[in-house]
């Protein structure tokens, strides 16, 4: 009797621990996708000093490119390749046509012009694909769950997303800190006129950085689009989160974007699940739920405010 009782208790603890671990994984997964999105944003802001509101549009472009490629070829892998290259190419053209005229302008001009780009991208996509959401299906082999230790069941696809995001983080870190191109990008951040006067084609370099950022946004759009849905306007909510991430992490810092994204992903996911539960401990159920979820939706902004009060330049930002 006593033994059986203690078993249910331990099993219960394991059960809730598994649930908690699953939520942590969810938070990680959404945080890491947020990083893939925010990496480009912070690079573009940090290196070129450009506020690009249209970064969310590139996220959408990637998702639509993936949906179209998947419908055409039937291959999910090709769909991801299409998302990455499609968004990078679109990014490259947009940079050469519009964005490069904005580097020397003030932030208000940049915001206005890139906001116009959002409208153009949204209406353009609506024109070609219609307003209904498209669906991008994850292949059956990786759609199902896998058993992890201590009874955690977790979808393989989401684990893959985490893996892809980590590879992107590693690749970007290597690019920026270890390659000559990365050295030139950082040099340009310090003194753009000088690196040009030493023989580096800085405008080609900027186009390249923008295209990389765009490609990554597109990849994130496709990867997340396969979990949610692919539709016009999908990029803007993520854009806002991505701005929160780069402000928390420190503008221009890839490392900061990574830590910031994970923080935001975890706070958002765990807060949404556990705050209402927490409130239920000391108030009536329905009030706890509504109050808890209301507070949860503000949680990342509270996090941002707290971090900015302590470190106005963000976690890894440079002062001044």
């Amino acid at each position: 009797m006593g033994a059986a009782n203690s078993c249910t208790q331990t099993c219960g603890v394991f059960m809730s621990f598994a649930l908690f671990a699953e939520q942590v994984l969810n938070g990680l997964q959404s945080g890491i996708m947020l990083f893939v999105m925010a990496a480009g944003l912070t690079l573009i802001f940090g290196v070129m000093g450009l506020i690009n509101l249209a970064h969310g549009s590139l996220y959408m472009v990637g998702a639509f490119a993936a949906a179209a490629a998947a419908a055409w070829t039937g291959s999910f892998l090709l769909a991801l390749v299409a998302a990455l290259t499609g968004a990078a190419l679109v990014g490259m053209f947009v940079e050469m046509l519009v964005i490069r005229r904005l580097y020397d302008r003030d932030h208000l001009d940049q915001v206005l012009a890139t906001f116009a780009l959002i409208l153009i991208f949204s209406e353009g996509t609506r024109f070609f694909f219609g307003s209904f959401p498209l669906f991008l299906d994850v292949p059956k082999v990786i759609a199902g769950p896998i058993n992890l230790p201590i009874g955690i069941e977790y979808p393989v696809y989401r684990l893959i997303i985490i893996g892809v995001g980590l590879c992107v983080a590693l690749g970007l870190w290597l690019l920026i800190s270890k390659t000559r191109l990365g050295v030139q990008i950082r040099a340009g951040k310090n003194d753009r006129e000088m690196i040009a006067a030493l023989g580096v084609n800085i405008s080609a370099l900027y186009t390249f950085v923008f295209a990389i950022g765009a490609g990554l946004a597109g990849l994130a759009g496709a990867l997340v689009g396969a979990i949610q849905s692919v539709q016009v306007g999908m990029g803007e909510p993520v854009l806002i989160l991505a701005f929160v991430v780069i402000v928390i992490g420190g503008i221009g810092s890839i490392k900061g974007a990574f830590i910031g994204a994970i923080l935001v992903g975890l706070t958002d996911t765990l807060g949404g699940i556990f705050l209402p539960e927490l409130f239920k401990l000391f108030m009536e159920g329905s009030i706890a739920t509504s109050l808890g979820s209301a507070l949860a939706s503000m949680l990342i902004y509270i996090l941002m405010a707290v971090i900015l009060v302590c470190r106005p330049q963000g976690l890894f930002g440079v002062q001044g």
């Binding site: 050295v183 950082r186 040099a187 690196i195 040009a196 006067a197 030493l198």
Partner: protein, 229 residues
């Protein structure tokens, strides 16, 4: 053979004209001093040569018109700049500063560290944390790493301790003796310029007022246009 030629060059900052008629003829392997009082347009001339500031008139490098080229193309053709104020990439290490814009040729990291041993000892130090003299050496090394045919040094000894200035002058002397690179020098120390340079071009209020060999530069002219003799 003429390496760099400026004829009737003018330039403005917005509405304020800074150069009115700059003429300069620098031969291969030549060390030329560009002299003039404060604010007469020496650095502005350099900016026009490097295509960092728009100018008019003739600007030729190795006989090719470079007035329409972007800055990076001019640099790729063989102009190496050590700018006024050093302008090292402050967040980059010494080694990164040197390799950011390196092009193949005589100059490589080991050769730079041979010329400036202090830099060799500080390869992984961030430029921002270097002393003024070390930053100046880094700025020179960085320009040399592009393996230029013509090195432009704008106030390379300004604001440095006498002993460090001496190191810089020794390095410039070595460049002249060992590599045959052409150098356009702007500096406040007239004595050193007179010792080391083959020729001089003097400008006043954005106009070339005197040009010739350093030997033929008399103290009267020097006094009139530079203010010291």
């Amino acid at each position: 053979m003429t390496l760099l030629l400026l004829e009737n060059v003018t330039a403005s900052y917005g509405k304020a004209q800074a150069l009115f008629d700059v003429n300069l003829n620098l031969k291969e392997g030549e060390l030329m001093a560009l002299m003039g009082r404060n604010g007469m347009g020496k650095s502005t001339t350099v900016k026009v040569i490097m295509r960092m500031l728009r100018g008019t008139g003739n600007l030729l490098f190795e006989g090719r018109d470079i007035m329409g080229l972007p800055s990076h193309r001019v640099a790729q053709m063989g102009l190496g700049l050590v700018p006024e104020g050093r302008r090292c990439f402050r967040d980059l290490t010494v080694a990164e500063n040197l390799s950011a814009s390196a092009r193949l040729g005589y100059w490589s990291l080991p050769r730079i560290f041979e010329l400036f041993p202090r830099l060799g000892e500080r390869q992984v130090q961030v430029a921002d944390s270097l002393s003024g003299g070390e930053q100046q050496m880094l700025s020179i090394g960085r320009a040399l790493m592009t393996n230029p045919r013509l090195l432009i040094l704008d106030e390379a000894t300004e604001g440095l301790a006498p002993i460090v200035r001496q190191e810089i002058w020794v390095a410039i002397g070595k460049l002249k003796a060992e590599t045959g690179i052409a150098i356009l020098l702007i500096d406040k120390s007239i004595k050193e310029l007179r010792e080391i340079c083959d020729s001089a071009t003097l400008i006043e209020r954005g106009k070339t007022v005197w040009t010739g060999s350093m030997k033929s530069l008399d103290s009267q002219t020097l006094d009139r246009y530079v203010g010291v003799s």
